[in-house]
Structure formats: C-alpha cells, structure tokens
Symmetry: C2
Subunit: 344 residues, 2 copies
C-alpha cells in the first residue's frame, strides 16, 4: 500500500517513513508524492535564512512555540520545520539540531521536525527539500518553516521555495558583512536582528536600513521573475495579474529579537501572518507560487536529464574521455561534445 | 582571429576580452578555450574560502604581494586572482572588491585580477570559474588564487577546482559557528585564523584544533573521490597510484595572521608552496587533478544537457505543463515524465 493514505490520515510514523523514502529518492517515495500532490498548496511556506552565529534555530523554535500557543483570540497552527544544512556536503551535517529541538517541542502532535544534510548536488538538495515540504503540506501542516544556514546560492535556491522569507542578522558579525547583505537583502520579506541585547545593534540596524534602500523590493520580484523568463515574458505575467491590487507594495520591516529569551517573537510571528495577507491581497501569492513551481520543475528536469544520460552511457567510455582530458588531448568542452554525440 | 593567440603572447587586453566572452558563454569564447586547453595544467590552483567577516580579500591581496616580492632566494610568481561572490545571484555582487584591489596591486603586469558575481545557476558559476582559471593558467599565471565568500555548497564546488584549499576563520564570529566548521574543515588543507589580534583567538584556535581531529584529512580524500564513484571505483584509483609515496600524509596546519598589517603572511605563503610539494611527492596532485577535471566535466555535461533539452521543446508546451502543476492536476514529477517523453 502506498504511504500516501496513512500520511493523509495524520499518521506520524508513516510521515517519517515517507520522508526517508523521499530523501533516498525511491520509486515508492515518488509514487506517494504524486498521490499527495493534489492535496498540496494550502500551507504557508516560510523560509528562514542567515549567516552562522545569528541564532536562527532558536528563533525558529520560538516561532513554532508562538504559533502553537498563540494569544487567546487566535487559533493554534500546525507547524512543520525543515532544517537544511548545506554546509557539510561530504559527511552530512544537521545532526545535533534535531536533538536540541526534540527536547523543546517534543510530544506536541501539532509540530513535525525534519533535519536534512546536503547529499550530492545542490540541485538535489533543493529538489528533496521541495518534496519534503510538499508532503508536510499535504499532511495538513499549515505553516512550514524552512531553515537554511548561510548566505550563498544554496539559501537563495531554497528561499525560492518559500512564500515569505526571513533574513536573520546579528550584531557584530564582522565588518565586511555589509557586502553580503546587499545580495541577501534582495530575498528578504522580513528582516530580524537577533541577539539584540548585544553591542552594535544600532550599527547593524543602520547598515541594514541603508542597504535595504539599495535592494528595492519591487526590483527583486522583477528579477526573480526574469530568471524564468526563458519560458514566459514578464509582460505576460504582469498583464495576467493586472486585475489584482498590484499597487500594494511590501516594505520589508526590520524587527529586533532576543530569541533565547523569547523577546520580540510575537512581533515576528504577527509580521509573518501580515505578509501572507499581503501576498493574498496583492495577487503576489499566485505569482510567487507559479515562479516557485517553475523553479522546482526546472530542478527536477535537470536532475532527471543528467540521470538518464548517465544511465545511457557505458562507464568505460566516460573514463576514456576523462583520461584524454587529464592528458590535455581534449578540452572539457570538446569532451562534452564527443560524449553527447556518441550517446544520442 | 581567435583570442587564444594574443592571450598566449601575454596580451592583457586580449585576456580581459576573452574572460568576458567566457562569462557571457559565447561561441568565440569556447573556441578560444578549446585552443588554450593544451597549454593548461601548469598553474598551482589555490582556493581561499571562509565566512564573511574573516578578511579573505585582504589576505589574498597580501599573499599576491608576497609572491610578487618574495625573499631574495626565491623568484617572483605571476599571480592570477579570481574573486567569486555567489551571495548576490539576482543583481550580481563583487563590484567594490575590484576597485579596492586595483589600487593595491595596480600596474604590476605579473598580477591579473578578475571578479565574478553569480549568474544563473550554481553549476554555471562553477563552470565559468573553471574556464576562467584555465585561461589564466594558459596565459602563464603560475599561481591562481580563487577566493569565495561563505561556507556552503558553492564554496565546496569551487574548492574542488583547487589543488590547495585555505579556510579562513576569525575570532568571535558567533557561537554556533562550530557547527559549520566541521563541514568546511573537511576541505581545508591549510587553516588560517585571521584578525589574530582580536579577543577570542585562543578559543578559536582550540575549537579549530578539536574539530580538525574529527575531520581527518585522509577521510576527506576518500569521500571526495567517492563523489565521482559512479564512474570509477576508488580501488582502481588507489591501485593506479600505488607506486607513489602514498604513505605521505598532510596534516592541515593552523596559522595566525593579521592580514591588514601583513603579520603572518610569509608563513602562509610558504605553507602553500610546501603543500604543493606534498601534492607532487605523494602523487596526490595527479589524483586531485583527475577528480577536479571529472567534476568539471560533470558540471559541463549537466549544463549542456539542460540547454539542449530547453532548445528542443516549444515554449508553450512548457507553459501548458507548468499551468497544470499550478492547478495541482499534475505533480512536478509527473510533469517531468510528460515533458521528457514528448521531447524524445
């Protein structure tokens, strides 16, 4: 029997098993994923990223606790957490995090946590993360927090899987950090300065505010869209959504927290919900959803094309061509031409 | 006329032009790259990576200056610098760095600097970096310093392009940085604690030494090799190199610097040369060179396969299938099956 049915019924063990199937990229996992896909698209996907040392994990834990025990007027949300650690590609990381969290949120059936280390290629990691998020979505988790370490391409790939992206900073993380902010700020919907009791918090806030003006949010969306522009001209998309309140503009707020003490968490929690409302009201949710799924499709296509080709070519032919590259008889480009013309 | 000839003759303007052709992925660039490839394989490729705030750029500049003006008994090396900033995938980063460096090393014909921002996919960035390094190698630069920001997958991809990898740390960059170190240490041949005049340097050194024992260097090489194991069993490789001094083992040293004041630079400079000697003596250079070229070939194959497929499929077919994913009528996996069965 497919694992999809018990997952839809809320069976946590089946959910954990299916996620393992998906991480191992099994046929059974793919079958269940296809069956679950029609039940997806309901969860609010929230990406949380930032450099090491900013205290992301504490913040994510506190946010989960906030949504599980909200103020009286609100209803608790079922929360999924996916912690992605692309920093250890060779042996795999993300081991400790799980255990620390377990103690914190253990026993709450409204919370499900999954840690992932990088396996193989980056495309593979982003693809697997997307699939894991889909399964949690189908399983009825209403908000899924996707946590990534760092500030590079990996984080951006994963940010593209989210509806709302939080970028976490902390005071005093070095002086050339400004350089990286300009890039990472482009993906931020909400900025959080954590460890706000540390010296340098005013400087950090001033620097962020300055850089924020450079990375104008409306520009970001255009750029994000144009990354998939080989498939659709941006003009088509803007026409398509012209009926919506496209004049609504989101200005990324800067919030201060001390996650370890729970300070400022409610404000961040509310801001995330407010951003979701903005996404709905402006029609931006549909646009992001399409860009998100397009990026996911591209990643899957890429992985599948490479796999198919690898299966089609004998190993000794690859080794022979590699040997000619090492001996400088063929350039890598020439080798690609040769390998691809032989296999098709 | 191909740009390859003037590049081989040492024409800097032709070199700069060719690098632009390569960044833009033109046909002329590829032709020149093929022509230059037989002249490559002579340079010592040195990767320099580390989190933002560690002062990598200063260190790279100081190393370049050291090799240009070595102690009397040594001859100056021609130095290429490739600065890769994968932090800003949407608008491109790595703009300021160049100008700061220009002032520093300007007018020295034995130094050539190229900054690159991420464009498109990570695979694309690593591919372009590899090509740029090849051109500098063919152009006669004897050591090429490849500088990357961060500590994620991007850095590791780029580290695999290098013979010798330096990982730069700095004191006081946050308390959960230990977690990331375990991963990044696996790729380190030489560890540098920069900003060694700051408080916390002893703690940083102690933490590094502890983590270094976990990330045993010999294990790393086996893992690195097994990443290409779908093409060659590690046993074949180890047999192949059995004649070499395979009992030679490299223990990554930990060095302290204050790059802005030039403190400790000579020690790092000498250690890099000592590592190269180890690579030659142990036979490890051949092994890394093969793994490096295999990784490069894989990246190029992947990029080419995806490009070919995209060119082969009409845009409206892709859009139609994407629409069905958005409406939850097809899962992304089902969409891939459909798109690939139609196109072949």
């Amino acid at each position: 029997m497919s694992l999809a049915t018990p997952v839809l019924e809320g069976n946590r063990l089946a959910l954990a098993r299916l996620l393992t199937q998906i991480e191992n990229d099994t046929e059974a996992g793919r079958v269940a994923l296809n069956e679950l896909y029609p039940y997806t698209g309901k969860a609010h996907l929230v990406g949380v990223t930032g450099a090491p040392g900013t205290g992301k994990s504490s913040l994510v834990n506190q946010l989960a606790r906030y949504y599980r025990h909200p103020p009286e007027t609100e209803t608790a949300l079922k929360i999924g957490i996916v912690a992605v650690d692309p920093s250890s590609p060779f042996t795999g990381g993300a081991i400790l995090g799980d255990r620390v969290r377990m103690r914190d949120l253990a026993g709450d059936p409204g919370v499900f946590i999954r840690s992932m280390a990088s396996r193989g290629s980056l495309g593979g990691l982003a693809t697997t993360t997307a699939s894991i998020v889909q399964v949690m979505d189908a399983a009825g988790f209403e908000m899924i927090l996707i946590e990534t370490v760092g500030a590079g391409q990996a984080e951006v790939e994963i940010a593209r899987l989210a509806h709302t992206t939080l970028v976490i900073e902390a005071p005093g993380l070095g002086d050339d950090i400004q350089a990286i902010k300009a890039g990472i700020l482009e993906i931020a919907d909400i900025l959080v300065i954590n460890k706000a009791d540390r010296p340098g918090v005013e400087n950090a806030e001033r620097a962020l505010r300055g850089n924020l003006e450079l990375a104008h949010p409306s520009k970001r969306l255009i750029n994000m869209y144009s990354e998939t522009a080989h498939h659709a001209a941006p003009t088509v998309a803007s026409q398509h959504f012209q009926g919506e309140n496209s004049e609504l503009i989101w200005s990324p707020p800067i919030l201060k927290t001390i996650a370890t003490e729970g300070v400022g968490i409610a404000e961040v929690g509310l801001e995330i919900l407010r951003h979701y409302q903005y996404l709905v009201d402006s029609g931006e949710l549909k646009r992001r959803e399409k860009a998100r799924l397009s990026a996911e499709l591209d990643l899957l296509l890429q992985a599948t094309l490479v796999q198919r080709w690898r299966d089609s070519i004998p190993d000794n032919r690859y080794q022979h061509v590699l040997g000619q590259i090492v001996e400088r008889k063929l350039s890598p480009w020439q080798a690609v031409q040769r390998l691809l013309s032989q296999s098709t």
